[in-house]
Amino acid sequence: MAASAAVTANYVLKPPPYPLDALEPHMSKQTLEFHWGKHHRAYVDNLKKQVLGSELEGKALEHIIQNTYNNGDLLPPFNNAAQAWNHEFFWESMKPGGGGKPSGELLALLERDFTSYEKFYDEFNAAAATQFGAGWAWLAYADNKLKVVKTPNAVNPLVLGSFPLLTIDVWEHAYYLDFQNRRPDYIKTFMNNLVSWEAVSSRLEAAKAASA
């Protein structure tokens, strides 16, 4: 997600950067129709209604997120704002024909901070599998290091002081139509077939620049 997108004052339901059937058979068109078309849309629509007439109206999404996190004692707009942000970030974390091992600088950094791609894979997989209830697993960047983070419900690394690079949604609505209870199979499919390492690389560049 480019830095300029953060300045959006009109909260927009941006479509994924691919058609809704483009991730098949790994993530079905039906899932995208509900997940993007209903869940994500509702977060955006409800956020607009919620901030209308308040001092948050017109503020950038990231501003709302930071100002309503309130050290974990969440203010009402946090859920909609963070979920709107998280979902846009999620669609852009995937691509048709994605997944597998990255190469170049990204692989080198994963090897530096996790010992190997396989160790990163295991850690990311474990985080996604063991987030009890609804939430997200992330690859994030802070203090010149990559790390895996898991968060509950709508929380994301922005409020925890790190730059998000990659995410997987582990709310049940993200995988239930395609995998039912089989979250581990969903995570494996995401890692092997959907991750957009290009998106991760460009986010990492932005994160490094912002930290410089």
Binding site: F34, K38, H39, A42, N79, F132, G133, A134, G135, P152, N153, A154, W171, E172, H173, Y176, L177, Q180, N181
Partner: protein
Amino acid sequence: MAIRSVASRRTLAGLKETSSRLLGSRSIQTFTLPDLPYDYSALEPAISGEIMQIHHQKHHQAYVTNYNNALEQLDQAVNKGDASAVVKLQSAIKFNGGGHVNHSIFWKNLAPVKEGGGEPPKGSLGGAIDTSFGSLEGLVKKMSAEGAAVQGSGWVWLGLDKELKKLVVDTTANQDPLVTKGGSLVPLVGIDVWEHAYYLQYKNVRPDYLKNVWKVINWKYASEVYEKECK
């Protein structure tokens, strides 16, 4: 995907609620998946047989399995005097044990229409509901609204505060049992609002699930619990 036949009865295994495992010099009590007192398809059309089968055989079973594993690890840690390990296991115990406790109540909270599902509570519970909430409709409206408003995963409950002797409506997050909201709270009716409880049938429209689930709520069971606690 499709689950074709949901007419078959729930599992034949797991006839006992609990079993014992011998570990070291003493045995700990472990748990088994309780049978449902009705067929998977018996709550249709309010809750589909497909959901009931997956909810029972996969989700509840996983809580039981993982709870037993956590209890075994806890037993070992306690025996070794490993305080850190004991504390570290608490979240797995709360989550999986809570999941087992909550779902065991939930299956009893539901009944097929022809076995009284949806029939309003009579007797003392019916009266207490009218006193506390104006009417059964008032209670249903309140619980449905609170259930719809749960962010993420959780439960909405009708409980009895046995100390204050009054009915309360409350929600819990994830698999927290009602008792985590107050030591004197006894659960009478719990409605699972985790997405797995309704997604295959109702998709994102949780309010529709909450509108329909009342048609199969087993008020007879809730009344029994209420009357027992009120003695």
